[in-house]
Amino acid sequence: MSAEPSTLHTPKPALLKMTAIALIVATILVVCFVLPAEFRVDPTGLGRLTGVSKLSGPKTMTASEAAAAAAPAGAPAAAGAEATRYYAGGYRSDFVDIPLSEAGSATRGEELEYKVHMKPGATLTYSWTTSTVANPEEFYYDFHGEAPPKPGEGQGTVVEYRQATGTQSHGTLVAPFEGVFGWYLQNQSEKPVVVHLKISGFYDLVPAGEYGNDAGIEANKALKDP
């Protein structure tokens, strides 16, 4: 069965011309508008001029870029070797018990974000565990940091550290910029759960209801496991 479609028979010069025009126009549109709108890459400046570059969401850093940004000025790029940091003061320790309802609850209480405020170069150590989740795949977290847009800039910054499932996580963080850093937590199990978070270091708690603690979590208030 020959079901080859009948096609046009465009003469060679016309064909070459059409292909060239298509390729050139496509490239112009991509360079002038798509790149600024999608990736904040704006070689012609048209993206900023027309405002399409505002579409490209917050600037997302990778963890390695964030590490480079957190390194003291003048330090080599591989600043992982830096072993000591000094601060004028402001050391603190807190424990934060974060309650989450079972998955699919009417109040959507199974998910929330909890973050603390940090200055650039500030460090913290954290450790959290959950109580009642039997299957580690049923607890999802997203460890990240963000800064709201500065006035007149229109764009915030986001740094993504880890998106994973698991019932515990322990580690340290050096803040690459001033902003809030912490976790999006999501209970996918059928039981309510309390996350027991311990933090120490150089940071400030975000007051209940403010940017980074919209859920209104109170620190240093013990909650019983459900």
Binding site: A3, E4, P5, S6, T7, L8, H9, T10, P11, K12, A14, L15, L16, M18, T19, I21, A22, L23, V25, A26, T27, L29, V30, F33, V34, L35, A37, E38, F39, V41, L55, T62, A63, S64, A103, E137, Y140, Q186, Q188
Partner: protein, 244 residues
């Protein structure tokens, strides 16, 4: 298509093509914003959160993905452009469906994860290929006609990898995975059928109009342009967002 007949209509063709380009760019712009990378926003949240068998939501997501997926639609438009018999339309669409179903299902089940930007770049290439094919480019430039059925099947496989990779990125729960994937796949076919019906209705009427051949050349050039844009956009995404 004699040069003299081309010239008489040149003015209207030029103004029409400008209008068409503008309309197309607007549509593409809107859809790029609305649907930058497959399944987005609320829908992604739904997929990430919901456990167990969810037949109708996944049917809907599959259909929506197809109806709003301009890359798949452009390719299908290119494929059916010069198919004059309904049985041929059915044959090619079936080949495309078999292709993308095979890779969608096996890709998800085997956890095959291909970089979505690269997959989408190849999907853009498939659009360019079909537009060039419709213009008779392979015969004219290389004196060789690639087998369209094999090409459609092969690009169908690539489109399916795109679907599989996107669904895996959303991290759907293991519980009910097979049923949900099959639902999504059936939804994709339903969406494709809806889109196909609309495109066929338009193109059948279009063919009756005088000057269809000329418009066809222009339309396929525009499809090619869109394909080039997709390729460049996705390659830019690949190189600009690579981490370390």
């Amino acid at each position: 298509m004699a040069p003299s007949t081309m010239r008489t209509h040149e003015k209207t063709v030029v103004s029409r093509s400008i209008a068409a380009v503008l309309l197309f760019v607007c549509c593409l712009g809107v859809s790029l914003v609305a649907d930058a990378h497959g399944i987005a926003g609320k829908d992604a949240e739904f997929v990430a959160k919901n456990q167990g068998v969810q037949v109708f939501p996944f049917l809907y997501l599959g259909a929506k993905h197809m109806v709003t997926g301009y890359d798949h639609l452009l390719f299908i438009l290119g494929v059916i452009f010069f198919l004059y018999r309904l049985s041929h339309v059915a044959l090619y669409v079936t080949l495309f469906s078999i292709g993308h179903s095979v890779t969608l299902l096996s890709g998800v089940l085997a956890h095959i994860h291909v970089n979505p930007y690269l997959v989408d770049a190849v999907i853009g290439l498939s659009v360019v290929y079909k537009a060039l094919d419709n213009l008779g480019a392979f015969q004219t430039l290389f004196g060789w006609q690639p087998n369209t059925k094999i090409a459609v099947l092969a690009f169908g496989l690539v489109h399916g990898f795109g679907l599989a990779t996107k669904l895996q990125d959303l991290n759907p729960s293991k519980e009910g995975l097979v049923a949900n994937m099959v639902s999504f796949n059936v939804g994709v076919e339903i969406g494709q059928l809806i889109a196909l019906t609309v495109m066929l209705a338009v193109i059948l009427n279009w063919r009756k109009s005088t000057g269809f051949t000329r418009h066809a050349a222009l339309a396929n050039t525009l499809i090619m342009l869109a394909g080039f844009m997709l390729v460049e956009y996705q390659l830019a995404g690949y190189f600009l967002t690579r981490t370390g």
